[in-house]
Amino acid sequence: MTVEHDTLLWLSKSIGLFYLIGLSVAVMVYVYWPSNKKRFDRAASAILHDEDRPTEGVK
Protein backbone atom coordinates (compact mmCIF):
# COMPACT_ATOMS: atom_id res chain seq x y z
CA MET A 1 0.00 0.00 0.00
CA THR A 2 1.65 3.18 -1.13
CA VAL A 3 -1.13 5.69 -0.63
CA GLU A 4 0.40 9.11 -0.30
CA HIS A 5 -0.43 11.08 2.80
CA ASP A 6 -1.23 14.14 0.70
CA THR A 7 -3.66 12.16 -1.44
CA LEU A 8 -5.57 10.99 1.57
CA LEU A 9 -5.58 14.51 2.96
CA TRP A 10 -6.92 15.87 -0.29
CA LEU A 11 -9.65 13.23 -0.32
CA SER A 12 -10.64 14.09 3.21
CA LYS A 13 -10.78 17.76 2.52
CA SER A 14 -12.70 17.61 -0.79
CA ILE A 15 -14.94 14.54 -0.87
CA GLY A 16 -15.60 14.96 2.82
CA LEU A 17 -16.99 18.43 2.21
CA PHE A 18 -19.17 17.47 -0.75
CA TYR A 19 -20.41 14.49 1.18
CA LEU A 20 -21.44 16.76 4.03
CA ILE A 21 -23.34 19.12 1.74
CA GLY A 22 -24.94 16.29 -0.21
CA LEU A 23 -26.04 14.58 2.94
CA SER A 24 -27.64 17.68 4.41
CA VAL A 25 -29.53 18.34 1.18
CA ALA A 26 -30.75 14.76 1.01
CA VAL A 27 -31.96 14.81 4.60
CA MET A 28 -33.70 18.17 4.14
CA VAL A 29 -35.45 17.04 0.96
CA TYR A 30 -36.61 13.88 2.64
CA VAL A 31 -37.83 15.63 5.75
CA TYR A 32 -39.68 18.43 4.00
CA TRP A 33 -41.01 16.50 1.01
CA PRO A 34 -44.75 17.27 1.22
CA SER A 35 -46.01 13.76 0.71
CA ASN A 36 -43.98 12.57 3.68
CA LYS A 37 -45.76 14.88 6.07
CA LYS A 38 -48.72 12.61 6.61
CA ARG A 39 -46.53 9.66 7.44
CA PHE A 40 -44.55 11.65 9.98
CA ASP A 41 -47.63 13.04 11.67
CA ARG A 42 -49.10 9.60 11.91
CA ALA A 43 -45.89 8.17 13.37
CA ALA A 44 -45.64 10.96 15.92
CA SER A 45 -49.09 10.37 17.31
CA ALA A 46 -49.17 6.60 16.79
CA ILE A 47 -47.16 5.89 19.91
CA LEU A 48 -49.70 7.64 22.09
CA HIS A 49 -52.52 5.21 21.49
CA ASP A 50 -50.94 1.85 21.31
CA GLU A 51 -52.64 -1.03 22.96
CA ASP A 52 -50.89 -3.45 25.12
CA ARG A 53 -50.63 -6.22 22.59
CA PRO A 54 -49.12 -6.75 19.17
CA THR A 55 -51.34 -6.14 16.16
CA GLU A 56 -52.22 -9.42 14.53
CA GLY A 57 -53.07 -10.32 11.01
CA VAL A 58 -52.05 -7.09 9.32
CA LYS A 59 -49.23 -8.82 7.59
Partner: protein, 550 residues
Protein backbone atom coordinates in the same frame (compact mmCIF):
# COMPACT_ATOMS: atom_id res chain seq x y z
CA UNK B 1 -37.52 -19.51 37.97
CA UNK B 2 -40.44 -17.64 36.53
CA UNK B 3 -38.60 -16.55 33.44
CA UNK B 4 -37.86 -20.13 32.38
CA UNK B 5 -41.61 -20.75 32.26
CA UNK B 6 -41.87 -18.23 29.42
CA UNK B 7 -39.55 -20.29 27.22
CA UNK B 8 -40.81 -23.02 24.95
CA UNK B 9 -39.48 -26.53 25.36
CA UNK B 10 -37.06 -26.26 22.45
CA UNK B 11 -35.85 -22.90 23.72
CA UNK B 12 -35.09 -24.49 27.07
CA UNK B 13 -33.06 -27.11 25.25
CA UNK B 14 -31.20 -24.47 23.28
CA UNK B 15 -30.56 -22.54 26.47
CA UNK B 16 -28.94 -25.62 27.96
CA UNK B 17 -26.80 -26.15 24.88
CA UNK B 18 -25.64 -22.53 24.89
CA UNK B 19 -24.90 -22.67 28.58
CA UNK B 20 -22.94 -25.89 28.20
CA UNK B 21 -20.85 -24.26 25.48
CA UNK B 22 -20.31 -21.29 27.78
CA UNK B 23 -19.32 -23.63 30.57
CA UNK B 24 -16.81 -25.31 28.27
CA UNK B 25 -15.41 -21.94 27.26
CA UNK B 26 -14.98 -21.03 30.90
CA UNK B 27 -13.24 -24.31 31.51
CA UNK B 28 -10.95 -23.73 28.54
CA UNK B 29 -10.05 -20.24 29.78
CA UNK B 30 -9.33 -21.65 33.20
CA UNK B 31 -7.15 -24.44 31.85
CA UNK B 32 -5.27 -22.21 29.41
CA UNK B 33 -4.71 -19.49 31.98
CA UNK B 34 -3.54 -21.67 34.85
CA UNK B 35 -0.73 -19.31 35.85
CA UNK B 36 -2.57 -16.14 35.02
CA UNK B 37 -5.37 -13.96 36.37
CA UNK B 38 -7.25 -15.32 33.35
CA UNK B 39 -8.00 -18.46 35.35
CA UNK B 40 -10.07 -16.42 37.76
CA UNK B 41 -12.22 -15.22 34.91
CA UNK B 42 -12.51 -18.73 33.53
CA UNK B 43 -13.86 -19.76 36.91
CA UNK B 44 -16.26 -16.83 36.96
CA UNK B 45 -17.65 -17.80 33.53
CA UNK B 46 -18.02 -21.41 34.68
CA UNK B 47 -19.86 -20.45 37.84
CA UNK B 48 -22.17 -18.14 35.93
CA UNK B 49 -22.91 -20.86 33.38
CA UNK B 50 -23.46 -23.42 36.11
CA UNK B 51 -25.86 -21.21 38.03
CA UNK B 52 -27.84 -20.59 34.86
CA UNK B 53 -27.87 -24.31 34.01
CA UNK B 54 -29.37 -25.06 37.40
CA UNK B 55 -31.95 -22.35 36.90
CA UNK B 56 -32.97 -23.77 33.52
CA UNK B 57 -33.12 -27.33 34.81
CA UNK B 58 -35.19 -26.37 37.84
CA UNK B 59 -37.73 -24.71 35.56
CA UNK B 60 -37.40 -27.28 32.79
CA UNK B 61 -40.59 -29.19 33.53
CA UNK B 62 -42.87 -26.25 34.13
CA UNK B 63 -45.67 -26.22 31.54
CA UNK B 64 -44.81 -24.61 28.23
CA UNK B 65 -46.39 -21.28 27.38
CA UNK B 66 -49.20 -21.68 24.89
CA UNK B 67 -49.82 -19.73 21.71
CA UNK B 68 -51.67 -17.08 23.70
CA UNK B 69 -48.23 -15.70 24.56
CA UNK B 70 -48.13 -14.30 21.04
CA UNK B 71 -50.98 -11.97 21.98
CA UNK B 72 -48.76 -10.13 24.39
CA UNK B 73 -45.47 -8.35 24.12
CA UNK B 74 -42.59 -10.28 25.60
CA UNK B 75 -41.58 -8.10 28.52
CA UNK B 76 -39.57 -10.45 30.74
CA UNK B 77 -36.19 -9.19 29.44
CA UNK B 78 -37.29 -5.59 29.96
CA UNK B 79 -38.37 -6.31 33.52
CA UNK B 80 -35.16 -8.09 34.44
CA UNK B 81 -33.11 -5.46 32.61
CA UNK B 82 -34.65 -2.59 34.56
CA UNK B 83 -34.05 -4.30 37.88
CA UNK B 84 -30.46 -5.01 36.88
CA UNK B 85 -30.04 -1.40 35.78
CA UNK B 86 -31.10 -0.16 39.19
CA UNK B 87 -28.78 -2.63 40.89
CA UNK B 88 -25.84 -1.55 38.75
CA UNK B 89 -26.72 2.07 39.42
CA UNK B 90 -26.45 1.49 43.15
CA UNK B 91 -23.17 -0.40 42.83
CA UNK B 92 -21.60 1.89 40.23
CA UNK B 93 -22.54 5.07 42.08
CA UNK B 94 -21.33 3.62 45.37
CA UNK B 95 -17.94 3.09 43.76
CA UNK B 96 -18.19 6.60 42.36
CA UNK B 97 -18.58 8.06 45.82
CA UNK B 98 -15.72 5.92 47.02
CA UNK B 99 -13.28 7.02 44.32
CA UNK B 100 -14.33 10.61 44.92
CA UNK B 101 -13.60 10.18 48.61
CA UNK B 102 -10.18 8.70 47.80
CA UNK B 103 -9.12 12.02 46.29
CA UNK B 104 -9.94 13.80 49.52
CA UNK B 105 -8.79 11.04 51.91
CA UNK B 106 -6.28 8.92 50.00
CA UNK B 107 -5.88 6.29 52.69
CA UNK B 108 -9.44 5.03 52.31
CA UNK B 109 -8.00 2.16 50.29
CA UNK B 110 -7.54 0.21 53.55
CA UNK B 111 -4.16 -0.82 52.19
CA UNK B 112 -5.71 -3.15 49.66
CA UNK B 113 -4.25 -3.20 46.16
CA UNK B 114 -7.60 -3.74 44.50
CA UNK B 115 -9.06 -0.67 46.22
CA UNK B 116 -6.58 1.89 44.91
CA UNK B 117 -7.93 4.76 42.84
CA UNK B 118 -6.52 3.49 39.56
CA UNK B 119 -8.30 0.15 39.84
CA UNK B 120 -11.69 1.17 41.15
CA UNK B 121 -12.11 4.25 39.03
CA UNK B 122 -12.88 2.06 35.97
CA UNK B 123 -15.18 0.00 38.20
CA UNK B 124 -17.17 3.18 38.70
CA UNK B 125 -17.14 4.24 35.05
CA UNK B 126 -17.96 0.78 33.73
CA UNK B 127 -20.53 0.19 36.45
CA UNK B 128 -22.52 3.29 35.67
CA UNK B 129 -22.00 3.58 31.90
CA UNK B 130 -22.23 -0.05 30.86
CA UNK B 131 -23.93 -1.58 33.90
CA UNK B 132 -26.56 1.04 34.61
CA UNK B 133 -26.79 2.76 31.23
CA UNK B 134 -26.37 -0.37 29.13
CA UNK B 135 -28.97 -2.41 30.97
CA UNK B 136 -31.41 0.48 30.86
CA UNK B 137 -30.84 0.83 27.11
CA UNK B 138 -31.32 -2.86 26.42
CA UNK B 139 -34.42 -3.06 28.61
CA UNK B 140 -36.10 0.04 27.22
CA UNK B 141 -35.11 -0.73 23.64
CA UNK B 142 -36.93 -4.08 23.79
CA UNK B 143 -39.92 -2.33 25.32
CA UNK B 144 -40.01 0.54 22.84
CA UNK B 145 -39.24 -1.53 19.79
CA UNK B 146 -42.15 -3.90 20.40
CA UNK B 147 -44.67 -1.11 21.07
CA UNK B 148 -43.65 1.12 18.19
CA UNK B 149 -43.52 -1.81 15.77
CA UNK B 150 -46.66 -3.38 17.23
CA UNK B 151 -44.83 -6.65 16.91
CA UNK B 152 -43.61 -9.13 19.43
CA UNK B 153 -39.95 -10.00 19.88
CA UNK B 154 -39.08 -12.79 17.42
CA UNK B 155 -38.49 -15.37 20.14
CA UNK B 156 -38.03 -15.65 23.88
CA UNK B 157 -34.50 -16.98 24.15
CA UNK B 158 -32.37 -14.54 22.21
CA UNK B 159 -33.40 -11.39 24.16
CA UNK B 160 -32.56 -13.18 27.39
CA UNK B 161 -29.25 -14.27 25.92
CA UNK B 162 -28.45 -10.66 25.07
CA UNK B 163 -29.40 -9.42 28.52
CA UNK B 164 -27.56 -12.03 30.56
CA UNK B 165 -24.65 -12.21 28.15
CA UNK B 166 -24.24 -8.47 28.41
CA UNK B 167 -24.28 -8.60 32.19
CA UNK B 168 -21.66 -11.32 32.13
CA UNK B 169 -19.50 -8.96 30.10
CA UNK B 170 -19.99 -6.20 32.66
CA UNK B 171 -19.15 -8.59 35.47
CA UNK B 172 -15.96 -9.75 33.71
CA UNK B 173 -15.01 -6.13 33.15
CA UNK B 174 -15.56 -4.91 36.67
CA UNK B 175 -14.02 -7.89 38.43
CA UNK B 176 -11.09 -7.76 36.03
CA UNK B 177 -10.09 -4.22 36.97
CA UNK B 178 -9.85 -5.16 40.60
CA UNK B 179 -7.67 -8.12 39.67
CA UNK B 180 -5.51 -5.84 37.53
CA UNK B 181 -6.85 -6.93 34.13
CA UNK B 182 -7.20 -3.88 31.91
CA UNK B 183 -6.32 -2.66 28.45
CA UNK B 184 -5.89 0.83 29.89
CA UNK B 185 -8.01 2.31 27.10
CA UNK B 186 -10.50 4.55 28.82
CA UNK B 187 -14.07 3.23 28.63
CA UNK B 188 -12.72 0.23 26.69
CA UNK B 189 -10.74 -1.35 29.50
CA UNK B 190 -11.98 -4.97 29.28
CA UNK B 191 -9.49 -7.40 27.80
CA UNK B 192 -9.64 -9.35 24.55
CA UNK B 193 -11.78 -12.32 25.61
CA UNK B 194 -14.44 -10.11 27.21
CA UNK B 195 -14.39 -7.94 24.08
CA UNK B 196 -14.95 -10.93 21.81
CA UNK B 197 -17.81 -12.09 24.02
CA UNK B 198 -19.42 -8.67 23.76
CA UNK B 199 -19.23 -8.82 19.97
CA UNK B 200 -21.16 -12.10 20.01
CA UNK B 201 -23.80 -10.65 22.33
CA UNK B 202 -24.04 -7.50 20.29
CA UNK B 203 -24.54 -9.31 16.98
CA UNK B 204 -27.48 -11.21 18.49
CA UNK B 205 -28.87 -7.93 19.82
CA UNK B 206 -28.66 -6.40 16.37
CA UNK B 207 -30.32 -9.40 14.74
CA UNK B 208 -33.20 -9.26 17.23
CA UNK B 209 -33.69 -5.62 16.41
CA UNK B 210 -33.75 -6.24 12.68
CA UNK B 211 -36.04 -9.25 12.96
CA UNK B 212 -38.55 -7.34 15.05
CA UNK B 213 -38.48 -4.35 12.73
CA UNK B 214 -38.94 -6.65 9.76
CA UNK B 215 -42.09 -8.06 11.35
CA UNK B 216 -43.52 -4.67 12.27
CA UNK B 217 -47.13 -3.74 11.66
CA UNK B 218 -46.48 -0.05 11.27
CA UNK B 219 -45.52 1.35 7.88
CA UNK B 220 -43.00 3.76 9.36
CA UNK B 221 -40.14 2.99 11.73
CA UNK B 222 -40.65 5.32 14.68
CA UNK B 223 -37.71 7.68 15.22
CA UNK B 224 -36.83 6.28 18.65
CA UNK B 225 -35.86 3.07 16.89
CA UNK B 226 -33.54 5.00 14.60
CA UNK B 227 -31.63 6.21 17.60
CA UNK B 228 -31.56 2.78 19.23
CA UNK B 229 -30.42 1.26 15.96
CA UNK B 230 -27.64 3.82 15.56
CA UNK B 231 -26.60 3.06 19.12
CA UNK B 232 -26.37 -0.67 18.42
CA UNK B 233 -24.62 -0.34 15.08
CA UNK B 234 -22.10 2.34 15.77
CA UNK B 235 -21.17 0.98 19.18
CA UNK B 236 -20.37 -2.28 17.40
CA UNK B 237 -18.13 -0.47 14.90
CA UNK B 238 -16.35 1.52 17.59
CA UNK B 239 -15.91 -1.45 19.87
CA UNK B 240 -14.43 -3.68 17.21
CA UNK B 241 -12.00 -1.15 15.78
CA UNK B 242 -10.74 0.27 19.06
CA UNK B 243 -10.25 -3.13 20.65
CA UNK B 244 -8.17 -4.68 17.87
CA UNK B 245 -5.33 -6.24 19.79
CA UNK B 246 -2.96 -9.20 19.88
CA UNK B 247 -3.18 -11.31 23.04
CA UNK B 248 0.11 -12.30 24.65
CA UNK B 249 -1.13 -15.88 24.40
CA UNK B 250 -4.41 -17.71 24.72
CA UNK B 251 -3.47 -18.39 28.28
CA UNK B 252 -2.93 -14.75 29.15
CA UNK B 253 -5.42 -12.06 29.99
CA UNK B 254 -3.07 -9.42 28.61
CA UNK B 255 -3.12 -8.13 25.05
CA UNK B 256 -1.35 -5.39 23.16
CA UNK B 257 -3.27 -2.87 21.11
CA UNK B 258 -2.74 -3.14 17.38
CA UNK B 259 -2.17 0.60 17.20
CA UNK B 260 0.50 2.65 18.87
CA UNK B 261 1.22 6.24 19.74
CA UNK B 262 -0.58 8.88 17.74
CA UNK B 263 -2.73 6.42 15.75
CA UNK B 264 -3.78 4.73 18.95
CA UNK B 265 -4.58 8.06 20.57
CA UNK B 266 -6.75 9.08 17.65
CA UNK B 267 -8.49 5.70 17.50
CA UNK B 268 -9.03 5.74 21.25
CA UNK B 269 -10.60 9.19 21.29
CA UNK B 270 -12.56 8.53 18.15
CA UNK B 271 -13.94 5.66 20.22
CA UNK B 272 -14.11 7.59 23.48
CA UNK B 273 -15.98 10.50 22.07
CA UNK B 274 -18.35 8.41 20.03
CA UNK B 275 -19.06 6.19 22.99
CA UNK B 276 -20.44 9.38 24.47
CA UNK B 277 -22.27 10.05 21.24
CA UNK B 278 -23.77 6.69 20.48
CA UNK B 279 -23.91 5.04 23.88
CA UNK B 280 -24.68 7.98 26.13
CA UNK B 281 -26.54 10.17 23.66
CA UNK B 282 -28.08 8.32 20.75
CA UNK B 283 -29.53 5.48 22.80
CA UNK B 284 -30.87 7.79 25.48
CA UNK B 285 -32.37 10.11 22.87
CA UNK B 286 -34.26 7.06 21.68
CA UNK B 287 -35.53 6.72 25.22
CA UNK B 288 -36.44 10.39 25.34
CA UNK B 289 -38.34 10.31 22.05
CA UNK B 290 -40.56 7.53 23.29
CA UNK B 291 -41.07 8.07 26.99
CA UNK B 292 -41.40 11.82 27.06
CA UNK B 293 -44.26 12.13 24.54
CA UNK B 294 -45.85 9.09 26.12
CA UNK B 295 -45.69 10.42 29.64
CA UNK B 296 -46.71 13.93 28.66
CA UNK B 297 -49.53 12.54 26.55
CA UNK B 298 -48.54 14.74 23.64
CA UNK B 299 -46.90 13.85 20.37
CA UNK B 300 -43.34 14.98 19.83
CA UNK B 301 -43.26 18.68 18.91
CA UNK B 302 -41.65 18.25 15.52
CA UNK B 303 -41.11 14.83 14.12
CA UNK B 304 -39.18 16.34 11.23
CA UNK B 305 -36.74 18.05 13.52
CA UNK B 306 -36.09 14.76 15.24
CA UNK B 307 -35.06 13.23 11.91
CA UNK B 308 -32.82 16.15 11.02
CA UNK B 309 -31.07 16.01 14.35
CA UNK B 310 -30.72 12.27 14.00
CA UNK B 311 -28.69 12.51 10.83
CA UNK B 312 -26.84 15.54 12.15
CA UNK B 313 -25.76 13.70 15.28
CA UNK B 314 -24.87 10.54 13.40
CA UNK B 315 -22.75 12.51 10.99
CA UNK B 316 -21.10 15.24 13.04
CA UNK B 317 -20.14 13.26 16.12
CA UNK B 318 -17.86 10.98 14.18
CA UNK B 319 -15.53 13.83 13.32
CA UNK B 320 -15.36 15.39 16.74
CA UNK B 321 -13.14 12.96 18.64
CA UNK B 322 -9.88 14.76 18.00
CA UNK B 323 -10.90 17.67 20.23
CA UNK B 324 -9.64 15.45 23.04
CA UNK B 325 -6.14 15.88 21.65
CA UNK B 326 -5.68 19.63 21.16
CA UNK B 327 -2.09 20.86 21.34
CA UNK B 328 -0.80 17.29 21.44
CA UNK B 329 1.39 15.47 18.95
CA UNK B 330 -1.69 14.93 16.76
CA UNK B 331 -1.38 16.80 13.43
CA UNK B 332 -2.94 20.24 13.62
CA UNK B 333 -5.37 19.73 10.74
CA UNK B 334 -7.02 16.85 12.57
CA UNK B 335 -7.36 19.01 15.66
CA UNK B 336 -8.96 21.83 13.65
CA UNK B 337 -11.33 19.41 11.96
CA UNK B 338 -12.39 18.04 15.34
CA UNK B 339 -12.97 21.51 16.69
CA UNK B 340 -15.03 22.64 13.70
CA UNK B 341 -17.32 19.65 13.83
CA UNK B 342 -17.65 19.86 17.59
CA UNK B 343 -19.01 23.36 17.22
CA UNK B 344 -21.36 22.37 14.40
CA UNK B 345 -22.57 19.57 16.60
CA UNK B 346 -24.31 22.13 18.72
CA UNK B 347 -26.98 22.53 16.03
CA UNK B 348 -28.44 19.01 16.01
CA UNK B 349 -27.96 18.78 19.76
CA UNK B 350 -29.93 21.89 20.49
CA UNK B 351 -32.55 20.94 17.95
CA UNK B 352 -33.06 17.74 19.94
CA UNK B 353 -33.14 19.47 23.30
CA UNK B 354 -35.48 22.17 22.01
CA UNK B 355 -37.72 19.62 20.39
CA UNK B 356 -38.03 17.79 23.69
CA UNK B 357 -38.84 20.91 25.67
CA UNK B 358 -41.34 22.15 23.08
CA UNK B 359 -43.10 18.81 23.36
CA UNK B 360 -43.93 19.79 26.92
CA UNK B 361 -45.64 22.99 25.80
CA UNK B 362 -49.18 22.74 27.00
CA UNK B 363 -48.26 20.08 29.50
CA UNK B 364 -46.31 22.19 31.97
CA UNK B 365 -48.89 21.60 34.65
CA UNK B 366 -48.05 17.92 34.37
CA UNK B 367 -44.35 18.71 34.75
CA UNK B 368 -45.22 20.58 37.92
CA UNK B 369 -47.24 17.75 39.40
CA UNK B 370 -45.47 14.70 38.10
CA UNK B 371 -41.88 14.09 39.23
CA UNK B 372 -41.44 11.41 36.57
CA UNK B 373 -42.05 13.88 33.79
CA UNK B 374 -39.91 16.39 35.63
CA UNK B 375 -36.99 13.94 35.54
CA UNK B 376 -37.33 13.88 31.75
CA UNK B 377 -37.68 17.65 31.48
CA UNK B 378 -34.56 18.24 33.57
CA UNK B 379 -32.75 15.67 31.45
CA UNK B 380 -33.54 17.63 28.30
CA UNK B 381 -32.36 20.86 29.93
CA UNK B 382 -29.09 19.29 31.02
CA UNK B 383 -28.68 17.76 27.59
CA UNK B 384 -28.88 21.24 26.10
CA UNK B 385 -26.48 22.70 28.68
CA UNK B 386 -23.95 19.92 28.40
CA UNK B 387 -23.83 19.90 24.62
CA UNK B 388 -23.29 23.65 24.67
CA UNK B 389 -20.51 23.26 27.19
CA UNK B 390 -19.04 20.44 25.14
CA UNK B 391 -18.86 22.50 21.98
CA UNK B 392 -17.40 25.37 23.97
CA UNK B 393 -14.72 23.18 25.51
CA UNK B 394 -13.79 21.82 22.09
CA UNK B 395 -12.53 25.27 21.07
CA UNK B 396 -8.75 25.04 21.11
CA UNK B 397 -8.07 28.01 23.37
CA UNK B 398 -10.73 27.01 25.89
CA UNK B 399 -9.46 23.47 25.77
CA UNK B 400 -5.93 24.61 26.58
CA UNK B 401 -7.30 25.67 29.95
CA UNK B 402 -9.87 22.96 30.56
CA UNK B 403 -8.04 19.87 29.35
CA UNK B 404 -6.44 17.63 31.99
CA UNK B 405 -8.43 19.45 34.71
CA UNK B 406 -11.53 18.68 36.76
CA UNK B 407 -13.54 20.86 34.41
CA UNK B 408 -13.72 17.88 32.06
CA UNK B 409 -14.95 15.73 34.94
CA UNK B 410 -17.59 18.34 35.75
CA UNK B 411 -18.67 18.43 32.11
CA UNK B 412 -18.93 14.66 31.89
CA UNK B 413 -20.97 14.49 35.08
CA UNK B 414 -23.30 17.27 33.97
CA UNK B 415 -24.00 14.96 31.06
CA UNK B 416 -24.13 11.64 32.88
CA UNK B 417 -25.90 12.76 36.07
CA UNK B 418 -27.99 15.54 34.61
CA UNK B 419 -28.90 14.02 31.28
CA UNK B 420 -28.32 10.27 31.10
CA UNK B 421 -29.33 9.35 34.65
CA UNK B 422 -32.31 11.70 34.73
CA UNK B 423 -33.82 10.43 31.49
CA UNK B 424 -33.15 6.86 32.59
CA UNK B 425 -34.81 7.32 35.97
CA UNK B 426 -37.72 9.01 34.23
CA UNK B 427 -38.05 6.10 31.81
CA UNK B 428 -37.74 3.54 34.60
CA UNK B 429 -40.37 5.23 36.74
CA UNK B 430 -42.65 5.38 33.72
CA UNK B 431 -42.14 1.78 32.66
CA UNK B 432 -42.17 -0.04 35.99
CA UNK B 433 -45.91 0.43 36.61
CA UNK B 434 -46.65 -0.30 32.94
CA UNK B 435 -44.57 -3.46 32.94
CA UNK B 436 -45.78 -4.87 36.24
CA UNK B 437 -49.36 -3.74 35.64
CA UNK B 438 -49.52 -1.44 38.63
CA UNK B 439 -51.60 1.74 38.77
CA UNK B 440 -48.54 3.77 39.77
CA UNK B 441 -45.24 3.57 41.58
CA UNK B 442 -45.36 2.31 45.17
CA UNK B 443 -44.87 5.84 46.39
CA UNK B 444 -45.05 8.96 44.26
CA UNK B 445 -43.70 10.85 47.24
CA UNK B 446 -40.47 8.84 47.09
CA UNK B 447 -40.14 9.60 43.38
CA UNK B 448 -40.35 13.24 44.38
CA UNK B 449 -37.71 12.68 47.06
CA UNK B 450 -35.42 10.95 44.58
CA UNK B 451 -35.86 13.81 42.15
CA UNK B 452 -34.69 16.43 44.63
CA UNK B 453 -31.76 14.34 45.83
CA UNK B 454 -30.71 13.82 42.22
CA UNK B 455 -30.97 17.50 41.33
CA UNK B 456 -29.14 18.61 44.45
CA UNK B 457 -26.42 16.02 43.96
CA UNK B 458 -25.89 16.97 40.33
CA UNK B 459 -25.66 20.67 41.05
CA UNK B 460 -23.28 20.32 44.00
CA UNK B 461 -21.08 17.93 42.04
CA UNK B 462 -20.96 19.94 38.84
CA UNK B 463 -20.33 23.28 40.54
CA UNK B 464 -17.55 21.79 42.66
CA UNK B 465 -15.84 20.43 39.58
CA UNK B 466 -16.29 23.58 37.53
CA UNK B 467 -14.67 25.59 40.27
CA UNK B 468 -11.86 23.20 40.95
CA UNK B 469 -11.20 22.66 37.25
CA UNK B 470 -10.97 26.33 36.39
CA UNK B 471 -8.85 27.15 39.44
CA UNK B 472 -6.56 24.23 38.63
CA UNK B 473 -6.21 25.29 35.00
CA UNK B 474 -5.51 28.89 35.95
CA UNK B 475 -3.00 28.00 38.66
CA UNK B 476 -1.02 25.82 36.29
CA UNK B 477 -0.57 28.66 33.83
CA UNK B 478 -0.12 31.63 36.17
CA UNK B 479 3.21 33.41 36.01
CA UNK B 480 4.62 35.72 38.65
CA UNK B 481 6.26 39.08 37.97
CA UNK B 482 9.66 37.60 37.36
CA UNK B 483 8.23 35.47 34.55
CA UNK B 484 8.37 32.08 36.20
CA UNK B 485 5.51 29.78 37.08
CA UNK B 486 3.77 31.04 40.21
CA UNK B 487 2.47 27.76 41.63
CA UNK B 488 3.94 24.32 42.03
CA UNK B 489 1.77 21.35 41.18
CA UNK B 490 1.33 20.63 44.87
CA UNK B 491 -0.05 24.15 45.42
CA UNK B 492 -2.85 23.37 42.97
CA UNK B 493 -3.45 20.06 44.71
CA UNK B 494 -3.97 21.77 48.05
CA UNK B 495 -6.39 24.21 46.46
CA UNK B 496 -8.48 21.28 45.19
CA UNK B 497 -9.08 19.72 48.59
CA UNK B 498 -12.32 21.51 49.56
CA UNK B 499 -13.79 20.87 46.11
CA UNK B 500 -12.96 17.20 46.30
CA UNK B 501 -14.88 17.03 49.56
CA UNK B 502 -17.79 18.93 48.00
CA UNK B 503 -17.92 16.57 45.02
CA UNK B 504 -17.97 13.59 47.36
CA UNK B 505 -20.97 15.13 49.11
CA UNK B 506 -22.65 15.77 45.76
CA UNK B 507 -22.06 12.18 44.72
CA UNK B 508 -23.40 10.95 48.04
CA UNK B 509 -26.60 12.95 47.56
CA UNK B 510 -27.06 11.47 44.12
CA UNK B 511 -26.39 7.96 45.41
CA UNK B 512 -28.93 8.46 48.21
CA UNK B 513 -31.54 9.38 45.63
CA UNK B 514 -30.71 6.27 43.64
CA UNK B 515 -31.09 4.07 46.71
CA UNK B 516 -34.47 5.64 47.40
CA UNK B 517 -35.36 4.81 43.81
CA UNK B 518 -34.21 1.19 44.21
CA UNK B 519 -36.41 0.81 47.27
CA UNK B 520 -39.37 2.34 45.49
CA UNK B 521 -38.98 0.13 42.41
CA UNK B 522 -38.59 -2.92 44.59
CA UNK B 523 -41.69 -2.14 46.62
CA UNK B 524 -43.70 -1.44 43.48
CA UNK B 525 -42.81 -4.87 42.14
CA UNK B 526 -43.42 -6.65 45.43
CA UNK B 527 -46.67 -4.99 46.35
CA UNK B 528 -49.63 -6.72 44.76
CA UNK B 529 -51.73 -4.44 42.55
CA UNK B 530 -54.18 -2.62 44.74
CA UNK B 531 -57.77 -2.29 43.69
CA UNK B 532 -58.60 1.27 44.69
CA UNK B 533 -57.59 1.17 48.33
CA UNK B 534 -58.81 4.64 49.00
CA UNK B 535 -57.20 6.26 51.98
CA UNK B 536 -54.44 3.69 52.28
CA UNK B 537 -52.08 6.11 50.66
CA UNK B 538 -53.49 9.57 50.18
CA UNK B 539 -50.53 10.80 48.20
CA UNK B 540 -51.25 8.22 45.56
CA UNK B 541 -54.85 9.24 45.14
CA UNK B 542 -54.00 12.90 44.80
CA UNK B 543 -51.44 12.41 42.07
CA UNK B 544 -52.70 12.35 38.52
CA UNK B 545 -52.12 8.89 37.17
CA UNK B 546 -50.63 8.99 33.75
CA UNK B 547 -51.26 5.82 31.91
CA UNK B 548 -50.48 4.77 28.40
CA UNK B 549 -53.21 5.91 26.11
CA UNK B 550 -54.31 8.75 28.31
Amino acid sequence: MQVIATLTRSERQWALIILLVLFALGLALMAAGRNDPLAGHGALVMIAALAAIFAVISGYFTPEPGDERLDHYYDEPSKIGLVLAMAWAAVGMFFGVWVAALLAWPDLTFDAGWASFGRIRPVHTTGVIFGFGGNALIATSFYVMQRTSRARLPDQLSPLFVLFGYNLFCLLAVSGYMMGITQSKEYAEPEWYADIWLVVVWVVYFVIYLRTLARRNEPHIYVANWYYLAFILVVAMLHIVNNLAVPVSFGSAKSYSLFSGVQDAMTQWWYGHNAVAFFLTSGFLGMLYYYMPKRAGRPIYSYRMSIISFWGITFFYMWAGSHHLHYTALPQWVQSLGMTFSIMLLIPSWVSAGNALMTLNGAWHKVRDDAVLRFMMVAAVFYGLTTFEGSFMAIRTVNSLSHYTDWTIGHVHAGTLGWVSMITFGAIYASVPWLWKRPAMYSTQLVETHFWFAIAGTIVYVFAMWNSGIIQGLMWRTYNDSGTLAYSFVDSLIAMHPYYIARTVGGLLFLTGTLVGCYNVWMTIRTAPRTSTTGAEPALAEQPLLQPGE
